[in-house]
């Protein structure tokens, strides 16, 4: 204890950050106090904005928002898939507090289920329509979630993170190496969702990504409503009690294992849905779609946005997926920023965790916890 560093005093901490925080709290308070109809109107306007977003007639007026390096509508589709995944992972990490580093594995299970059952290059040759396969994909991912969860959910914290990471890597290797899953050769000609325009042209075509985006957006809204209801129910309260203190929850009579499994399975189901949607849009699925880095990106997105808060997860997932694509096509001093995107991503993670570990839009209860922790006296620091 020769070189004791003084913790920053409250006075030192008073700065832009604090003022910003006050500002945001004021906005949050205002939002909370606003009449019900105002909140509804704002929400409807926001949703309408996102439905309008992929139309070129609309987004070309939005200045620097549309991506320049890749088609904006296609990027929006990718972003929406990430948002859906973030909402799903938020149940596992944010609500139940289970650190899942292999979440993308479930996405792979969903996409591969669709691919195997619908593609003409599959060994099964079932060639089922997309719509029929989606529920099967969701069910199968749920089952795989339960299968993985039953033995592993007894583990806690870092161990669970490692097992899930290992599991995702095993799925990837299986996808690369097994003959049944075709490896890098993949599955082509996966059918699109059904639906036709009045003139007989398919609604879900090849060139226009807007319908897919609208489909995912609609499903996100439905999933969010479902998850919200779930969290306000007995299940949600059980999850939060597990996250806060698993032993205490157990002592109070919460069947922790059952609810952890529930969280795991429902999170997996949402990832399966996302995978099925992805496969239906993409036309082609192979092992290159499922890199380990994707799992990490989604987890980071949820934490960045504010784990435990649905809005936070949505913002995090959207922002991360969008920013990565936004870098494309921007040149600075003769180098394309896209090359540096993961470098920035890594640095942002570090900086963010140091200055705002609770995330951009934190859950109120979580934010309070973080505040409490900071006040706790740490010896020797």
């Amino acid at each position: 204890m020769t070189t004791t560093v003084n913790p920053p005093t409250p006075e030192q901490q008073q700065g832009i950050g604090t003022r910003l925080r006050h500002g945001r709290e004021a906005i949050a308070q205002r939002w909370h106090d606003a009449p019900r109809w105002v909140r509804w109107a704002a929400l409807v306007a926001l949703i309408a904005f996102f439905y309008a977003l992929p139309n070129k007639e609309f987004y070309q007026y939005l200045g620097p928002i549309p991506t320049t390096g890749s088609n904006f509508t296609q990027v929006l589709f990718t972003v929406s898939i990430y948002v859906l995944l973030a909402v799903g992972l938020n149940i596992v990490v944010g609500f139940a507090g289970l650190l899942d580093l292999g979440y993308f594995g479930f996405f792979a299970v969903g996409a591969y289920t669709v691919a195997v059952l619908t593609s003409p290059s599959s060994n099964l040759k079932t060639l089922w329509p997309w719509l029929l396969v989606v529920p099967i994909a969701i069910a199968l991912t749920m089952v795989s979630g339960v299968m993985l969860g039953t033995p592993t959910l007894r583990l806690r914290g870092d161990y669970l993170a490692l097992v899930t990471l290992g599991f995702a890597e095993m799925i990837r290797i299986a996808a690369v190496s097994s003959d049944f899953l075709k490896g890098q050769r993949g599955f082509n000609q996966i059918p699109h969702p059904p639906g036709k325009y009045a003139d007989g042209k398919p609604f879900f075509g090849v060139l226009d990504a807007r319908p897919y985006y609208w489909l995912v957006l609609t499903l996100i809204i439905l999933v969010v409503i479902g998850v919200r209801n779930l969290t306000h129910s007995r299940v949600g309260r059980a999850w939060i009690s597990i996250r806060e203190d698993e032993d205490a929850a157990q002592l109070m009579g919460v069947p922790t294992f059952k609810f952890k499994l529930w969280a795991f399975a429902s999170g997996a189901a949402i990832a399966g849905l996302a995978g099925a949607l992805f496969a239906g849009k993409q036309n082609f699925v192979n092992s290159q779609n499922f890199e380990l880095l994707n799992s990490i990106i989604i987890l980071a997105a949820v934490i960045l946005g504010g784990s435990g808060n649905i809005v936070g997860a949505i913002v995090g997932g959207g922002l991360v997926a969008y920013m990565i694509e936004r870098f494309r096509g921007i040149e600075l001093f003769g180098v394309e920023l896209y090359e540096y995107r993961f470098l920035f991503f890594g640095l942002v993670l570090v900086v963010m965790m140091i200055f705002r570990p609770q995330g951009l839009i934190p859950n109120r209860r979580r934010a309070a916890e973080f505040k409490d922790r900071r006040k706790e006296v740490i010896v020797g620091e």
Binding site: L99, Y159, I173
Partner: protein
Amino acid sequence: MNFDGLFSNFGELTTTGLTQGAIYALVALGYTLVYGVLRLINFAHSEVFIAGAFAAIWTWNGFGLDQDSQVSGVGSILFYLLVAMIVAAIASAGTATVIERVAYRPLRKRNAPPLAFLITAIGASIAISEAFGIWTRRRPEGAPILISQKPLFHLFGVPIDGVQLLTLGAALVMMVALDQFINRSRVGRGIRAVAQDANTAALMGVNKDRIILMVFIAGGTMAGVAGLLYDVRIQSLTYSVGFLLGLKAFTAAVLGGIGNLRGALVGGLLLGVVENYASGLFGSEWKDFAAFAVLVVLLMFRPTGLLGESLGRARA
């Protein structure tokens, strides 16, 4: 299943597995030390390893040696190995220090939850690995052939070469040195004290920050040596190899019992051998699959690893 492939090559699969396992073990020590003291998966440790491995290659390049150079004479081989080892160890320890100072220490000051540490670790790992990738233009860098891999002698009919001897020998020496350091030295006592109960140790006059820094430096030195051995063995290095190697080294640490130095050695060697047997039995493409399958199965039945967690014995 190719039992013939496994049994007819059993000896060689074992020796090459042990060699690779020794490298896992050295890297695993870094994970185990940090986890034992801070209860933190130092995800960025794989990049500590990479820094050392690149430093060694660049040192040789500085001496005018490239992938086609042949070095002869025991004296000059030893000289190049020693210099590269020192540079690699310094580079790795330096990287580890920077990571600790920039990424972890501010979080400790704020008493951040474990999740925040994990995310910063991942962030630091991605950032460093990408920096190396951009710097090397994502191409492999070649190392000179310092030691021939021609068999020196046969042990029970299995050829043994100089690289295998060096790798295993160096790993064992480093391991024993670290063990002595932790168990005999003053700083080592501090490390054990902080691992057992950080706050009490601090109250007893142990400078926690300094101890933590020492832990990172010790782990970094081991990783640097591992990087050098990797270069000698593979003679080529790409920026992206750290991630998987780090993951496997961590697996090795967990296998042996995280926080347990001897466990890291046992886990590393075991993992190296097991994955080699799997590649003999099922084909090389299932090698990594086997490594993770072992991890998952082990954690389910014996989450504390084979030898148990021990650096801080008081932990429940």
